[in-house]
Every structure is written in C-alpha cells, then in structure tokens.
C-alpha cells in the first residue's frame, strides 16, 4: 500500500534453520540403497530458508506491485485483456479434473476426454473449420503446428515449397514460426488502407510459395476486406491460407474464417476465450483445419463413438506429436466453461461489444491523437504519437503517463508499420465508465504534451519504481541473485 516500501528478494531474508514446509515422519526404512552408485549432492547452496508467514507476506506484497485486469482497464492492443470469470477458475480446478494423471487409462478419464471433444466441436462451429487440435500450448505454438501441417500436406503433394508470405503488419511470431518450419519469409507490403496490397500479393504469389499467413482483422484492427480474393489468389497458385486468429474477438458469431477461404487457423484461448494471462501464460493455441488437412493433425486425436471417448494414435500422415500429453488441459476447461456460459447469442456479443467499445474510443480520441489509417476499426484502433512528437513526446512517454492515472498503457511494440504506435483494445467486458476514464486520461495527456511535456517525460510518478533503465539491464545482464561472496 505504501509506494516507498521495497520488497527484498526472498534470498535476502533467508536465514539458516528457518523452514515452512514439513513432511510426516518417514514410515519406511531410512535406506538409500536404490540410489547406490549415483552422484548425490550434499546441499542446495543459497536455497532460501524462510517461515510460512514470511512467504505469505512476500507474495502478498509482490502481488500488490502488479497492475491487472481485476484492478482496471487493460487496453493492451492485440492481447484482448477481457475479464476472466472467477467461476471458471473454480471449475477448472475441480478435483475430478485436477487429480487426473495424463497416463491414466482412457476408460478412467472419460470426463477429461469429453471436455476435449466438446471444445473441439464448439471451436469448429465458431471458426467454421472441419477439425481442431487442442495440443498447442500458446498462439505461437499453434502457428508452428499449423505451418507444420501445411508443410506436411504440401509434401504429400510432392513439394513442400520454400517461401511463406507474411504482411509487414504481422506479429513477430508469424515469421519466427514459419522459419522453424524450414520456410523462408517474404514480406508483403500493406497498402494505404493498412490492408494487404492485392496487386503486390498477386506478384509475390508464385509456385514457390507454400502459404500466406494473414491476421484478420490485422494488427491495425482493420478487417482484410479482400480476404476472399486474397484466398483465391493463394489457392490458384496451389498455396494455402493460414490465418492468425489472435484477433478472433472481433469476429465471433459474425463471420467464420472457414467461410472466407482460410485453410488453417489458430485461436488464442487466453484472448478470445477469456482464460487468464497469468502474467505471461499458460494459455492455449488450438489450431483448426479444413477437411484436406485433417490427416495431418498431431497425435493423439480424441475420437467419440456412441458416447465413449478414445485416443487415436495410429494416423498415417500425422505430423506427429507436438507436445507431451494433451495440451494445457485446465486452460481448455476454462474455455469450454466460457463458451457454455455465453451460448450462441453471447458468443456473438463478444464481437459486437468489443467492436463497439473500440470504435467508441476511436471516435472520442480522433483529433487528440493521429490516426495513420482512416480505415474503419474492428476490435482495436491504432493511433500514433505523431501529433505529440512535435512537442518531443513519444508514445513511451504517453504510456508511462497513463500509469499515473491508474491505467495500463496500450501496445507500442508493433505493428512496425506505424511509428510510435498506440494500439488500443478495450475488449467487450469494459463499462462505459472505465472507457470514459481512459478517454479523459488520454485527452488530459494530449493537453499535457502541449503545455507541460516534462511531466510526461518524468512519468510514471506514482509507482513503486519509476522509469527503469532497460538498456543497462541488457548491457550487463544480472539474471539471478548470487550470494554476496
């Protein structure tokens, strides 16, 4: 609660002999015979020794140094920071699920398998795909799995091809995932609308090209209106269309990727389907495919036969295993809960209100901030710091100043095609009051940028630490605590 209080590292409050965790007295012989011949260690140097009350205070205090969705608006573009329902946290931890071992015989975990099958079915309907795999642990993992399936499908045709086309507005994981798949990346320029330049695509789309990775709506929050033509061009040359579905929040129930020519798509359950981000994960990145790619799905695949569920491993043509066991199961339970609690109407309302909230913010901030692309926004809008730059103020200064207003900054690290980007995604669960608090803060900051830029430069002022030196951190990295020699 007090700004000045600095929380020590646990190692700094450790002292010999203290302990919290204790176990019952051993009820078997003391022997270590089983380990005879193995090199054992005599201690764990520097390992912490603290009491339980100290542990509780340490983490309670640290928790209060975090901002989070439960505290306020978190308009981090491309991250869909919506409310995470508390009931889903409880249900995903039910003993019936939490205590199941991944090696348990399928007959004894029919409930878990039902969860997987149901979620697959619902995602197919929402995305308009023929099948889904739930194995991927996150969006980037989904991209990798999706591209592997594309490659396997092309190889089966006799030619894996060499190149993957990716718009310059794409998220960094796209090229990176394509690369691990053994593809070289060719960048597609965006046109003045911020969307894929169709002419440019037509030129670039050769028989060398395995696939186009398109994000729709793209990272500008703009819908690729030519998506059908684009898909046609790619397909005409024998390529496949991969869609990065991280922005599904703009589309649910309104339009289905499968209906606009997409062959493969990944969805971030930790975005569109409300599973919490947990400060950086775990999430889940299920991948949906069209019929032609179904044989390529990673193993195992859950199969249902009159109410009984089984795991199928014997699938010639599969890309193989992409992760041990069955993916981030408890995250999948949360997503299932979310879909069940929303229903058909509620799932469509996600997109409706996400887009309404984003457009409300956009309209209210036009004029105060520069909008590089006039194209209509879907679930997020990307302003830039161009007007503020005239006063020497950057998007970073604006971001840090927002913190003083008790708000989280927008995304600034991309899209790379907008310099000084401020990518704002409110999500559908925000109240008008919280949206207005944000708008007012942004307007105040725009004024401060003109009248008193210094206060932006020195922001934030109210946090436990002020602006941190990230350059020094990278220059001489200190990545762990070490006992003062």
């Amino acid at each position: 609660m007090i700004k000045e209080v600095r929380e020590p590292l646990i190692f700094e409050i450790s002292s010999p002999g203290k302990r919290a965790g204790r176990l019952p007295v051993l009820d078997v012989p003391e022997t270590m015979d089983g380990l005879a011949g193995a090199a054992l260690r005599s201690d764990i140097d520097g390992f912490p020794e603290v009491s339980e009350p100290e542990v509780v205070r340490h983490f309670t205090r640290l928790s209060q140094k975090n901002y989070c969705v439960d505290l306020g608006l978190y308009p981090l573009g491309s991250c869909t920071m919506k409310y995470n329902p508390k009931i889903n946290e409880r249900l995903s931890g039910l003993p019936g699920f939490a205590a199941c071992h991944p090696h348990a015989p399928a007959e004894l975990v029919q409930g878990c398998l039902e969860v997987l099958k149901r979620l697959e079915t619902y995602l197919c309907e929402i995305a308009g795909m023929d099948a889904f795999t739930l194995h991927p642990a996150a969006g980037a993992h989904g991209e990798l799995v999706g591209m592997m399936m594309i490659r396997a499908a092309l190889e089966a045709r006799g030619d894996a091809r060499k190149v993957v086309l990716i718009p310059d507005s794409a998220h960094g994981t796209n090229p990176s995932s394509a690369h691990i798949c053994g593809y070289s990346v060719k960048e597609i320029k965006s046109d003045e609308r911020g969307t894929i330049d169709v002419a440019g695509l037509e030129k670039a789309m050769t028989e060398e090209v395995a696939a186009l990775m398109v994000t729709n709506p793209n990272t500008l929050g703009v819908f690729e209106s030519d998506i059908c033509r684009i898909a046609g061009i790619v397909h005409a040359k024998g390529g496949l269309v991969y869609m990065d579905g991280a922005n599904m929040n703009a589309l649910t129930g309104v339009v289905r990727p499968g209906d606009m020519g997409v062959d493969v798509i990944h969805i971030n359950l930790h975005k569109t389907f409300s599973t919490p981000h947990g400060g950086g994960g775990p999430g889940a990145g299920p991948v949906g495919v069209r019929k032609e790619l179904v044989p390529r799905l990673p193993v195992p695949v859950v199969e249902e036969k009159d109410g009984r569920y089984a795991l199928s491993f014997d699938r010639p043509g599969t890309i193989g295993r992409v992760r041990a066991y069955f993916g981030n199961f408890s995250i999948l339970v949360r997503a299932l809960c979310y879909i069940l609690s929303l229903g058909p109407r509620g799932v469509r309302e996600i997109a409706e209100y996400a887009v309404l909230n984003a457009n409300y913010i956009r309209k209210r901030l036009e004029g105060d901030y520069h909008l590089k692309y006039e194209t209509p926004s879907m679930h997020e809008c990307v302003f830039s710091d161009r007007l503020q730059k005239e006063h020497g103020v950057t998007n970073l200064d604006i971001a840090k100043r927002l913190i003083d207003f008790g708000l989280h900054p927008p995304t600034m690290s991309f899209p790379l095609i907008v310099h000084g980007a401020l990518m704002i995604e409110p999500t559908e669960t925000e109240s008008k009051r919280d949206l207005d608090l944000f708008v007012e803060a942004m307007k105040t900051i725009a004024r401060e940028a003109r009248e008193n830029p210094g206060i932006l430069k020195s922001a934030p002022h109210v946090t436990y630490v002020r602006r941190l030196d990230e350059v020094a951190a990278a220059k001489n990295p200190v990545l762990r605590w070490e006992e003062a020699a």
Binding site: L9, K18, G21, R22, L23, L26, T31, G34, L35, A38, E49, V55, F59, K65, Y67, C68, D70, I87, E89, L91, C100, H101, L108, V109, G111, A140, T173, S184, G253, V254, V255, D259, P276, G279, G280, G281, V322, A324, G327, I331, S341, L342, P344, G346, Y353, L356, N357, K363, M378, I403, T411, E428, T463, R466, R467, L468, D469, P477, V478, W481
Partner: protein, 448 residues
C-alpha cells in the same frame, strides 16, 4: 451468463458517439457474402449454477482420482502446501499480461527473477529462463539450441528419454535438417556406453539424455558429458522429475552444458497433463542463444532496484524469423506456483521431500521384488521410479489391480516392445507404507 458491462442506455449513447445507428453498421467492412447469416450452433447459454452442475457432472465421469495410483513417467503427484493455491490465485497474479510495462509489473518480474535463481541453484548452472511450455517442448528447444551453438547437424538422443519427449523432438527437427540418432540402453537401464562411443563424431551437436531417465534410472551424467566434450559436442540433460535435482548432484557440476525439462513436480497439479512448466538452464556463454523470456535486474531513475524483461533482441517480436525461438506466451503462472512451492519447502524441506521419495521407492522396489515371479528390470540407481517385470502380460496384472481400485504402474509394452511385460512404478512422498504394502499384496494376488 454474460460478462458485458454496458446498460442499454450506455449502448445507445456509445453508438451515437461512434456515429452509427446499429452495431451491425460497425461490421460494414466485412463482405456481405461471407457474413454468418444464422446463429451459431452452440448449446444455449448456461447460468453459473447450471454451468457448475454441468462441469461437476463431467468431472464425476472421471473414475481415476479416487484410486491408489502409482503412475509417474513424466507427471508426478506431490504434496503442495496450501499457501501455493491461496497466493497464486490472487487476481494480481492471475489477470495481468506479460510484464511488458515493468513499472506496473514489479511483482511478476521479481518473481521471475527469483524463479530463475532457484532453477540455477538446482541445476548448478549460471543462467535460466522464465519458463518454456513443458518438458517435451523444452527438450526440442534444447536440441535446436545445441544446433545453433555448435552449427552441427547431428543429435544423439537416448532411447531412455521420455518417449513422448522424443516424439516431440522428432516433430520439431523434421524441417530444420537435424539428424536424430537414438542411443540404446543396457542391462542397467542406462545409455549403452559403447554405442555412444560409436555414434559420437565431429558432426555431433549434442548428446541428449534424461536423468533420472524414463525408467527412473539415474544416468552417469559425468561420463556422458565427458564423452560429448571429447568430440566438442554439448552435453544436454533432460529432467522430467525436477524434484530429483534436490538430491542428485547438480548437472552443471557434472559437466552438463544445458539442462531442460519439466518442473510440474513443484506445486503444479496433474490436471490431465497440463498446463505444466518447462524450464531451461545453461552456461553463461550460451546466453544469446537461449530461447524464451528472461528477467534481469536494473535500476530506476531514482536509483531504486527494479526488474525488467531483458535481452529481447533474442526474441521474435524484435528478431522475427531470426529469433532464437518463436515462443511468446509461456507458463508464467506455473512458474509462480513453483516459486511459491520451492520457497515454502525451502532448503531443508525440499531435500527431505526428495529423500522420502527415494526411500519409499526403494522400499516399494524391495517389497515388489519379494513377490514370487516379479523382478526389478534394471540394476541402475533409481530415484522415485523403477521398472518391474512380471511373469504375466502387464495388461492382465493391471486388470486385476484395477478391479481392486489400484493403478499399479504404467505398462511399457507400447513404448518399449522390447521390454515385453514390464511396467514403470512410481512412488512419491504421498504414498504411505500401507499403500505400498497394499500394492505388493495385490500384485501377489494378481500373479497367484
């Protein structure tokens, strides 16, 4: 249930402000022909009460949780102090994004820094990252990293590595031109030294082994590392049962260059296989080849200590196709649980837990070996798992045990046909002497 926060009036005011009459107008740029003309075919919305009843019913269809189980093989049931749940469930930990804005994320960032330190202390290596997806993808990342570091195309991987980890590695390397060679095992359940010697050459990027391996047997990390280094290849150790690190010599001290694996044992529930906690530690000079996020220490403008995500130049959002990995979202909340778990168990508690695992497993091995016809398959040292060989097909034994409410172990026939009727038995601190005796008795009956 709906989680929207706008009243009808709010909605009207906002539509007006946005300059449209209906929400549909906001979707104008979506071509009419592709729009969905019907409602989604999903079950009607459930209220919280109905949802809870539905999920509880599904959960009850799982007939595993109540049983006495000795399953391990990469996922382990361990004691977890209550503080882990009560603290990790706080909204301030559950609901933030990746700590891109350090000034409002010092909680998460300091915890990552502590997690990296704890992993380094356990692994006996200089640096560790903030987490990877799980043990299997961690293994794959380690293999890719070994190739980047050495520039060599060939990787030797032990057949004693978790079968699913090997499958995942195979899937990952398929498209990047790495040749995988599998190293057979000997009577002691360890890598066969001779075959290793033959397979090792100057094209070898790394010798990849798991210890304790999938059979629960502790490999001779020191000898394997020496051999690898003899050919300037890396020694990469995988760990599926991270608790073993509290008792076994730190891999880094035995010459291992990279340790990757699964830390689910540290306070992360079984939860049917995920989310789990991949981790990686390595030598300092590999820092710029390390995949995944890393937190580092720095200072603010007033000289106060603080923490930030650092060395992002390795990562996809800066490096794009030249990044060390495509990983972005990782397993932060599981790493938080592990940090709370490790700091609560502490120096003494964690070692005591590891010792109890070893002792209870040793006791179980002895009791089972005393059952007529049953023998331990491998002679090598083991931590909390071991392989037994029954005179009958394990499936038959298993059926009898199951009827008695016991899951006696993991049959190996599918993954290791060459082992015939063997099964992998895991015993953690949660099993009492009575539990173990009950298993031994049941196996005896199953065989009589």
């Amino acid at each position: 249930m709906s989680y929207l926060s706008l009243s009808d009036k709010d909605k009207q005011d906002m539509l007006a402000a946005a300059g449209v009459g209906t929400i549909d107008e906001l979707f104008c740029c979506i071509p009419e022909e592709v729009r969905l003309k019907r409602g989604l075919r999903l079950p009607e919305a459930l209220t919280e009460l109905e949802l809870a009843r539905t999920l509880e019913d599904i959960g009850r269809k799982n007939d595993y949780p109540e049983r006495l189980s000795f399953l391990g093989g990469g996922a382990y049931e361990h004691f977890t102090p209550a503080v882990v749940d009560s603290l990790s469930s706080r909204g301030e930990f559950v609901s933030p994004y990746t700590p891109y804005q350090p000034e409002v994320s010092q909680g998460t960032l300091q915890i990552i820094f502590e997690f990296q330190t704890l992993i380094c202390q356990l692994a006996g290596l200089a640096i560790a990252n903030a987490s990877l997806y799980d043990g299997s993808t961690g293994a794959a990342e380690a293999v890719l990293m070994a190739q980047r570091v050495t520039g060599r195309p060939k990787v030797l991987i032990a057949r004693t590595v978790h079968p699913q980890y090997r499958e995942v590695v195979r899937t990952y390397v398929k498209n990047v031109g790495i040749e995988l060679t599998e190293l057979p095992f000997g009577k002691d359940g360890r890598i066969d030294a001779e075959s290793l010697g033959q397979a090792l050459d100057d094209r070898t990027a790394a010798v990849v082994f798991q210890s304790p391996n999938f059979f629960g047997v502790v490999e001779d990390a020191e000898a394997l590392s020496k051999a690898a280094h003899g050919r300037k290849a890396l020694s990469v150790a995988l760990v599926a049962e991270a608790l073993s690190l509290a008792l076994l010599e730190a891999p880094g001290r035995l010459g291992v260059d990279v340790v990757a694996g699964e830390a689910q044992s540290f306070g992360v529930p079984l939860s049917f296989g995920g989310p789990y906690l991949g981790f990686m530690a390595c030598r300092k000079d590999f820092l710029r080849q390390m995949p995944g996020r890393i937190a580092g220490r720095t200072t603010d403008v007033e000289g106060r200590r603080g923490f930030v995500l650092t060395l992002a130049t390795r990562e996809q959002h800066i490096r794009r196709e030249r990044a060390t990995s495509n990983i972005c979202t990782n397993q932060a909340l599981c790493a938080l649980r592990a940090t709370i778990f490790l700091e609560t168990m502490g120096r003494q508690g964690l070692r005591e837990m590891a010792r109890q695992n070893a002792r209870k497993a040793a006791y179980a091995a002895e009791r089972l070996a005393s059952v007529p016809g049953v023998e331990r398959k491998f002679s090598g040292p083991f931590f909390n798992e071991f392989v037994i060989q029954a005179p009958k097909p394990w499936a038959e034994v298993d059926a009898v045990l199951r009827a008695g409410g016991i899951i006696g172990g993991l049959g190996l026939a599918a993954d290791y046909p060459e082992l015939g009727d063997a099964a992998l038995v895991c015993v953690t601190e949660l099993k009492t002497r009575a539990d173990i005796d009950r298993l031994a008795a049941a196996v005896g009956e199953a065989l009589s």
